[in-house]
Each structure stands twice: as structure tokens, then as C-alpha cells.
């Protein structure tokens, strides 16, 4: 069972243009900042919003705008889980779960719904109204409601984002358990890297309506191809043109690296590899840049110093070092990075 989709949505000057495949048994997370078009993509796949392109699930064409094919949402068997549960407030928990079973004319809807709840450890909440549930319980019920109809495609829209941090772990456990036993195609959209890393086998990074990168979480964070991914991986990402051992950046700056190759490249520098000096250092590092401290953020006993200049970088240093060097916003500093600490790969 696979999902094969090409989705284009144009709306108010925003264009989403995504090609996506997902196989049964893997969880694909569409990761991107707010406004990247993640929810738009999910709603188009669910059949709720108008789109152009083609969506094929397990050989069945759900949407093909060139052929005029559109299977309505209620016949797609695509389970949808919203950010904030959206349980029917006028129906009890068990009736919420039974809703889809009744709609699809399955036998013994109430009994089947009850069994799902018992298996999830929510049997004692069956008669309660959604407003009596905690946030975590409500989201778990919402997940069960979507799964009880045995959808072929499970679409999760930021399923943990609306929850308190304290209950996220509880719901994430349930989600992991349910996802593992779900045999259809699983698609998760989120702006939270932790959520994506914890649940996904494969990441698709979406920015400004376009896929900028995809691969396993390790691949993606090891070789970021966008500011968003670099930030979530906590690394410095520079883009430029490689020539020999140099990467030429916009402006006049350049980065020395070991065999950078030729053409458009990304250069990644880990903040731990950036050393800071008060005066121009004289040593082996081939990269020495001048800059001005933009901000200083404390992360435990480590400090992330953001430096602006021809080569804007984030340096990670100890708290003692910042005190000793008097690193505050506005201070001028020199940065040094060894060429061997710069990893370069084609853009």
C-alpha cells in the first residue's frame, strides 16, 4: 500500500507544489515552519480543499484534476487527526469513536468502539462527554476515533502541538504504539522537530510551499539544505560557490574548506567549532573573520553567541569564556574555524 501524490494549491499569492510518496509501514513527517503549507497539503490529501494534481492511494486514483477525478472526503478512508482533538462535543467518548463505524455501516459499532477504548486504557471514560476529558485523553480518543474505521491513510496534523508539555509524553507513547500497529500509510505534519524526530522514519522538509529536503532524520540533520533545518539541527548553514579549497559567499567573504569541489554548495559549520577572540588570532585556522556580537543566549552552562558580519555564525562557548572575553551584544570579536571543521556538499 502506497501513497503517491502531486499536490498543487494556489491561494492568495501562496503556491504549494509538492510531490510526495509514502509507503505503508513507514511514518513520513512533513516538517516545516508555520506558513510552509503543511496543513494545506494535509487538507488537500484528505479531500477537504480544492487542489490541482494527482493523488493515488494503493492504486486507487483519489484525485486527478486532469481527468476530473475527485473522490469526496467521506469516501477516501483517510483518517484525520487535528491539532486539538475536534471531538464532537455533544456525543459521549464511545459515540465519538463509534461515529465513523456507524457512518461506514460496520457491524456492532458501539461494541467495537468500546473495545478500542479498553485496549487504550480509556474504557472507564467511554460514557464521558469530551469536555470532561483531560487534553491528553481527548487527543488519544481523537486518534482512536480516526483509527477505529481502519483508514488506509492516516493524516496527523500537529497531533501533539496543542498539548501541555507535561502530557505530551503520554500522548506520544500512545501515538508511537498506535502508529506501529497501523498498517496503512502514515503522514504527519508538524513544525516541531522533536515531534518529527520522535515519530518519523522519513522527513520531508517543506518551506514556502516547496519540498527543500527529504530523507531519514539523520540524513536531513547531517546535511541541512535550508535555514530552518540548520536551525533545528543547531548548526550554521552557509550557501555559496565552491572553487578548489574555497567557498565564495555572497559579498566578498569566503570560507576555506578541504576540497570543496565546484559549483553551488552548502557549507555547514558546527557552533562548537567556532572559536572567539578579542583580537585577531594568529594560528593554524584558515578561516578568520571579524564580526559584532548580535545576541548571547544561555543554554545551561553553554552559551550560544550569535555574531553578525560578512560571515554570520553562531558560536557555542562556555559561560566562563563569555565572562572572560566580555562578550555582550555590540562587542566586536574575531572568529576562527579550521578548514577541516567545514563540511561542504552540493546544493
Amino acid at each position: 500500500m502506497t501513497l503517491d501524490a502531486v499536490v498543487r494549491v494556489r491561494r492568495n499569492g501562496f503556491t504549494l507544489d509538492v510531490a510526495l510518496t509514502a509507503a505503508a509501514g513507514e511514518t513520513v513527517a512533513v516538517l516545516g515552519p508555520n506558513g510552509a503549507g503543511k496543513t494545506t497539503l494535509l487538507r488537500a490529501l484528505a479531500g477537504l480543499d480544492e487542489m490541482e494534481g494527482r493523488v493515488v492511494l494503493d492504486g486507487e486514483v483519489l484525485e486527478d484534476t486532469s481527468q476530473g477525478v475527485h473522490v469526496p472526503a467521506e469516501r477516501r478512508r483517510a483518517g484525520l487527526v487535528f491539532q486539538d482533538h475536534v471531538l464532537f462535543p455533544h456525543l459521549s467518548v464511545v459515540e465519538n469513536v463509534a461515529f465513523g463505524l456507524r457512518a461506514q455501516k460496520r457491524p456492532h459499532p458501539a461494541a467495537v468502539a468500546q473495545r478500542w477504548l479498553v485496549e487504550a486504557g480509556l474504557g472507564d471514560r467511554a460514557g464521558a462527554l469530551p469536555r470532561a476529558l483531560s487534553g491528553g485523553q481527548a487527543q488519544r480518543v481523537a486518534l482512536i476515533r480516526a483509527l477505529a474505521t481502519e483508514p488506509r491513510l492516516l493524516l496527523l496534523d500537529e497531533p501533539l502541538s496543542a498539548l501541555d508539555v507535561s502530557v505530551r509524553a503520554e500522548v506520544r507513547r500512545e501515538l508511537t504504539r498506535q502508529l506501529d500497529s497501523f498498517r496503512g500509510v502514515r503522514l504527519l505534519v508538524t513544525h516541531d522537530p522533536v515531534e518529527a524526530m520522535a515519530l518519523a522514519d522519513r522527513l520531508v522538509v517543506l518551506e514556502g510551499g516547496l519540498v527543500v529536503q527529504s530523507g531519514t532524520p539523520d540524513d536531513v540533520t547531517a546535511r541541512p539544505r535550508s535555514r530552518f533545518v540548520a536551525d533545528l539541527a543547531g548548526v550554521n548553514l552557509l550557501r555559496g560557490r565552491a572553487h578548489g579549497d574555497q567557498v565564495l559567499l555572497a559579498g566578498d567573504a569566503s570560507v576555506a574548506a578541504v576540497s570543496a569541489g565546484e559549483g553551488d554548495v552548502f557549507a555547514v559549520i558546527h557552533p562548537r567549532a567556532v572559536a572567539l577572540y578579542r583580537s585577531r588570532p594568529d594560528g593554524t585556522p584558515r578561516n578568520v573573520w571579524h564580526g559584532e556580537v548580535d545576541s548571547v543566549d544561555l543554554h545551561g552552562d553553554r552559551v550560544r553567541v550569535r555574531v553578525k558580519g560578512p560571515v554570520p555564525l553562531v558560536a557555542e562557548v562556555t559561560r566562563g569564556a563569555t565572562l572572560e572575553l566580555g562578550l555582550t551584544a555590540g562587542a566586536t570579536v574575531w572568529m576562527a574555524v579550521k578548514a577541516t571543521e567545514v563540511s561542504v556538499y552540493p546544493a
Binding site: 479531500g47 472526503a73 467521506e74 483518517g79 475536534v86 464532537f88 457512518a103 493524516l155
Partner: protein, 261 residues
């Protein structure tokens, strides 16, 4: 309590305004022929008018529900100039003098009216001055209250409930009956109550379009007006009944509003 002072002038004007409401009510209660009230209540003219009023107003409310909810849905879920015009036309009866509504109904459904003449020629049906006319007049005047309330309810409804229902496999009618209508229940209820209260008190359009025929079109408000000349006690008793109904409605609605908070 805030310590901001309210000037005396505002207090005096407010008191005058309050008196304007309260004095007539006091007059009604003080002058009520309490010892004759039971007799008046069981008088055939009174009971007939009451029964007719109940029948007409409830029928009007039922029609308003059947036609008004779909109308509210069209108004709430479409956009454009046509919709804006439709919306203005729908709410027109709320501001139109009822007697003008009655005249308009006569011109449309009268024996020589726009539609009425066709009905008469084709089927021999005459609407004016029948109970049906009274029901139509009340519906005409009262339905906007329901439409407005339901439209507002629909606008504030989170569409994702319906989308969740669809994604679970529910078709249009199942979503409508099992999700949309139950979620709209508070709006429908308050709209229906307002609509019924307006229909129950309808006078101008009814007397113009349906006339004053005891047992056929003489509803309580018309009976009150007629009785004021000849049997003022009956008029006062009937007025009291309408007053009690109104207060009860208000109390019931208030309970509901408070409960929703």
C-alpha cells in the same frame, strides 16, 4: 465596585425610561379584573382566540424552522453581492411596519395578486382571510428572527467538526443531522423562541392580510384590540396572558444564556 460617579442627570433620564416600561405593566396588573379572570379565561371567545393563536404561532414557527434553517445555511455559507442582497431582503420584515407586510402579502397572494390570481384560477384557492393567511402573515414577520439566529450560530460553528465527520466517512446528510444540527441546537432554540414570541404577538400584518374572523383569523392580539371597545375586562385578561407568556419566555431564555456561560 468602581468609584466612577454617574451624573444625576443620567440617573434621572434612566429612571424616566424605566418608568415608561414599568407604568403600563403596573397599570395592566392593577386594573386586572382578578375576580373575573377565571370567567374570562373560560369564555368561548377567549379560548377560541387562545387556541387559534397557539395553533397559528406554532405552525408559523414550524414553517420558519423548515424553511429558515436552509435559508440561514445559504446565507452563512455563500459569499458575494447576491448573498448580501438576499440577506438584506430576509431581514427586511424585521424593520418593515407589519401593516405594510400585510398589504404586500395581499398584493402577492390576494385573489387578484401576483401569485394569488394564478392559484385562484388554477385551483380555486383563496388565501386571504383564512387561517392559512394568519399563519403566512405570522411566518412572514417572525421568520427573520430565526434566520438571523441560526445564521449567526452557523458562522460561529467550527467547520472542522463537519470536516472530521466527513473524514470518518459520513456523507452530507449524516453530517447535517448528526453533527451540524446538534451543534446548532442552542442557536436554533433561541431563534425558534424569538420567532414564536414574535408570531404570537403579531397584529398588523395578520389583521391586514387575514382580517378579524373569530375562530378563523382572530388571534389573541386582534381579540384584545377588538375587545377593548366592548369588553375591556376580557382585553385586560388576554393581555395578562400574553404578558405572562412573555415573562416566562424571557426567564427561560435567561436561564439558557446563563447556563451557556
Amino acid at each position: 465596585m468602581s468609584r466612577a460617579k454617574i451624573p444625576a442627570a443620567i440617573g434621572i433620564l434612566a429612571a424616566l425610561g424605566l418608568l415608561l416600561f414599568l407604568l403600563p405593566l403596573a397599570g395592566l396588573i392593577v386594573r386586572a379584573p382578578w375576580n373575573q379572570a377565571l370567567g374570562e379565561l373560560t369564555d368561548p371567545t377567549t379560548t377560541t382566540a387562545l387556541g387559534l393563536s397557539l395553533f397559528c404561532s406554532l405552525t408559523a414557527t414550524a414553517i420558519a424552522l423548515i424553511l429558515g434553517i436552509p435559508l440561514a445555511m445559504i446565507l452563512a455559507r455563500t459569499r458575494g453581492t447576491l448573498r448580501n442582497v438576499l440577506r438584506a431582503l430576509t431581514t427586511l420584515p424585521m424593520v418593515l411596519p407589519p401593516v405594510v407586510g400585510g398589504v404586500a402579502l395581499l398584493l402577492a397572494f390576494g385573489r387578484r395578486g401576483l401569485v394569488g390570481s394564478l392559484l385562484y384560477q388554477a385551483f380555486g384557492i383563496q388565501i386571504p382571510f383564512t387561517t392559512a393567511a394568519a399563519v403566512m402573515a405570522e411566518t412572514f414577520v417572525a421568520m427573520p428572527f430565526l434566520v438571523i439566529a441560526v445564521e449567526a450560530g452557523l458562522r460561529s460553528l467550527d467547520h472542522r467538526y463537519e470536516e472530521a465527520a466527513r473524514s470518518l466517512g459520513a456523507g452530507y446528510w449524516r453530517v447535517f443531522v448528526r453533527v451540524t444540527l446538534p451543534l446548532l441546537r442552542p442557536a436554533i432554540f433561541s431563534g425558534a423562541v424569538l420567532c414564536w414570541a414574535r408570531a404570537l404577538g403579531e397584529f398588523g400584518a395578520t389583521i391586514t392580510f387575514a382580517g378579524n374572523f373569530p375562530g378563523r383569523t382572530q388571534t389573541v392580539p386582534i381579540a384584545v384590540y377588538i375587545a377593548l371597545e366592548t369588553r375591556p375586562e376580557a382585553a385586560i385578561t388576554l393581555s395578562l396572558i400574553l404578558l405572562v407568556v412573555s415573562v416566562a419566555l424571557l426567564a427561560g431564555m435567561r436561564e439558557r444564556w446563563l447556563g451557556a456561560l
